[in-house]
């Protein structure tokens, strides 16, 4: 990943038309070009995967500990984007502070959802969870329409992110690189929290046996609230980080939750490693699908999901 930082305004960046990667070259040169094209596309897919990972991580943690499959998790991603847009795009607050405020804000929304709604249906059939959380999608979508209007928003891009780095002879956006770094950073932080801290041990204990954890003195209601808030905050982080490059509009939550479900089904619901692997698989395959099979690119992901369901229904890392 060594490379010089170039800005797309600088003149030395006016690459003259290079020979095509697929023709008019020696076989070895052509092969190398093809490998570079594939590697570059994989890197693009990896940045795509990181948004999915941030969503799927929260979804899977909440399911693992609370046993709730939160349909409205995508809406929390959407709220994260709207909050970040409001702080950064409308109020002109510092980009990093805007992200932090958005994550905290959506965490508080999560607090309300868990404490005043979800808490009352833990003992009920799973169908009630789906109905309630689906209801939240409609409520959040309409609330967003009422507060921000139905029209899409285009937040400004912070200037320090507008450059690109030369990788494999092509320009890769600094922002995508930053997203990859942020996704991996969150993965490491989550692993450290869960494996190395007291809180992590409590969470893992409650996930594997709720009653036993309760018997040895874990305050389950508070733990549930905290975990749900944490999951919501992760979704918000994904949404907030997406704002410089993605449209902010009502409905983006519904669009991304479907992909997040595919990720968790492939990786194994309730399993963090699975969520990470599933996100990388879906992101990278999507990117390769677009490059190699542009007509079937959507289809490929669902084929992979179907195969996983047939061969290992609990997911690659589940069970």
């Amino acid at each position: 990943m060594r490379g010089e930082l170039v800005n797309w305004l600088s003149p030395q960046n006016n690459t003259p038309t290079l020979p095509s990667p697929f023709k008019g070259e020696g076989l070895s040169g052509g092969k190398r070009k093809t490998m570079e094209t594939l590697a570059f596309q994989g890197l693009v897919g990896l940045s795509l995967a990181m948004y999915l990972w941030l969503i799927a991580a929260g979804l899977t943690i909440v399911f693992g500990v609370l046993g709730i499959l939160n349909f409205a998790h995508g809406s929390l991603f959407m709220l994260g984007a709207y909050f970040a847009f409001t702080f950064y795009g409308l109020l002109g607050i510092n980009f990093w502070l805007s992200i932090l405020l958005s994550v905290i804000g959506v965490g508080l929304v999560g607090l309300v959802m868990e404490r005043f709604f979800l808490r009352f249906i833990y003992h009920l059939d799973v169908a009630y969870q789906l109905l309630l959380t689906f209801g939240f999608i409609l409520i959040f979508d309409d609330a967003v329409k009422m507060i921000w209007g139905g029209v899409f928003m285009i937040p400004p891009m912070p200037d320090f992110f507008t450059g690109a780095i030369s990788i494999f002879g092509r320009l890769f956006p600094v922002y995508n690189l930053f997203i990859i770094g942020a996704g991996i950073g969150v993965a490491i932080a989550l692993w450290l929290i869960l494996e190395r801290t007291w809180w992590g041990r409590i969470i893992r204990a409650s996930a594997s046996d709720r009653e036993m954890a309760s018997a040895i003195g874990v305050n389950i209601p508070i733990l549930f609230t905290a975990v749900f808030m944490f999951g919501a905050a992760l979704a918000a982080l994904g949404g907030a980080l997406s704002t410089p490059v993605r449209v902010v509009a009502p409905g983006i939550g519904g669009a991304i939750i479907i992909q997040a479900f595919v990720v968790t089904v492939i990786g194994g619901l309730g399993n963090l490693k699975g969520a990470f692997a599933g996100a990388v698989i879906v992101g990278v395959l999507t990117a390769y699908g677009i490059l190699l099979f542009p007509i079937f690119e959507l289809f490929i992901i669902f084929v992979v999901m179907a195969v996983v369901l047939l061969v290992k229904p609990e997911g690659l890392f589940g069970g």
Binding site: V6, W8, L9, N13, N14, T15, T17, L18, P19, S20, P21, F22, T37, F40, Q41, V44, G45, S47, L48, Y51, D141, K145, G149, G150, V151, F152, I154, P156, M157, T162, A164, R170, L171, F172, P173, V174, Y175, N176, S242, V245, R246, V247, A249, P250, G251, I252, A255, I256, T286, A287, I290, L291, P294, I295, E297, L298
Partner: protein, 414 residues
Amino acid sequence: MKRVTGILGVALSLVFILSGAVSAADLPGVIKIGGQGVTSGAHADYGRQMIMGATLAIDEINAAGGILGSKLEMKFMDSELKPAVAVKNARYMVQEWGAHLLFGVDSSGVCMAVGPVLPELDRIHIFCHASTEKLTENLVYKKGIKNIFRISVPVYQDSIVAAMIFKDFPEIKRWAGINCDYGYGRTSWALFKATMKKYRPDVEFVAEVWAPFWTGDFSPHLSAVMAKKPDAIFSTPWAGEAVMLLRQALLLGVFDQIQVWWQAMGGSVDALEGLAREVKGNKFKGKLWATARYIHNWPDTPDNKAFIKKYLKRWARYPNYSAETSYSAIYVFKAAIEKTKSLETAKLIKAIEGMRIKCPGGERYFRPEDHQAVYTVPAGKVIHDPAYPLPVLGELRVIPAEDYYRKPPFPPVK
């Protein structure tokens, strides 16, 4: 006896209400106009502009006494870009709300679903945005669904105009397509390729990628296309998605490597507003070209200037093409009703077929064969002009509509 007539009277009026029928000779006190378009999500500005354009026309007409004394009333619903929702909306507006006339609709899939139910609803529908050529070529011309009219220029604008401009760029030989993964994108790309091939057999189409609605991240599409080193890119995603696509293209340095980017509906007001910062900073290096189905800075006529002035005063925004087409659609209704003095569908159809009407975007002629309004819209470079608060199309290329509209009998696109 009196009681029987009373019951009969009530029954008759119920039938009257249910059928929504209007006696041939006179008009109801209120003429109800049902509109729909997308008013939520990344494409929502199109529906909003429809509401603003139609409202302006309706208020003008009502202030001047209505149509032959009848006032106009509008109801506007969100199609959500979903065919099933749009059909439900159309049925609701006609059968329950009592709409006499219908207009609006964005997106190919939606118009192709609404078109076929119109004979059953017995209403005319002026489509103001949806642009697949199949609406007028197949449903009207080939299948004979006469209830359909379209006031906005179809994909001929997005594709054939582009080919007729860029055929004269001999150095551009390698084209790549980034297109919407639905009817509109597919048909635009096919028409562009067919037309371009006719003029320039030496041109190659080196890559094509497809993006469905709700594509948040276009970077995989862009990097896949750029791997084939195209000279130029033909792109059809629209509204917020077009803005994000172009912004991501800048991040990937695409504009350093290509000579031309054709963003079909990049001349749309919402896209121009979204790109204002980048255009002002000359990030696209004069390589971004676009068109629309009407642009506010053309034609330079008193009619158009008056329209812009009224619109700015009322809404404090520049009208997008869906605003101009909706505004004009209301005036087409007015002209047709004044001619027939009736709301009968068959008579209205006859009145609009062959109609010539002055609109802000210039004179439109409704071809009787396919019910498509013929009028010219230029294309140009997206530029910053200090006279306007948003980017505009400049260095305009004006190709007469007769030269780029497909004509009956509409040979199949190869």
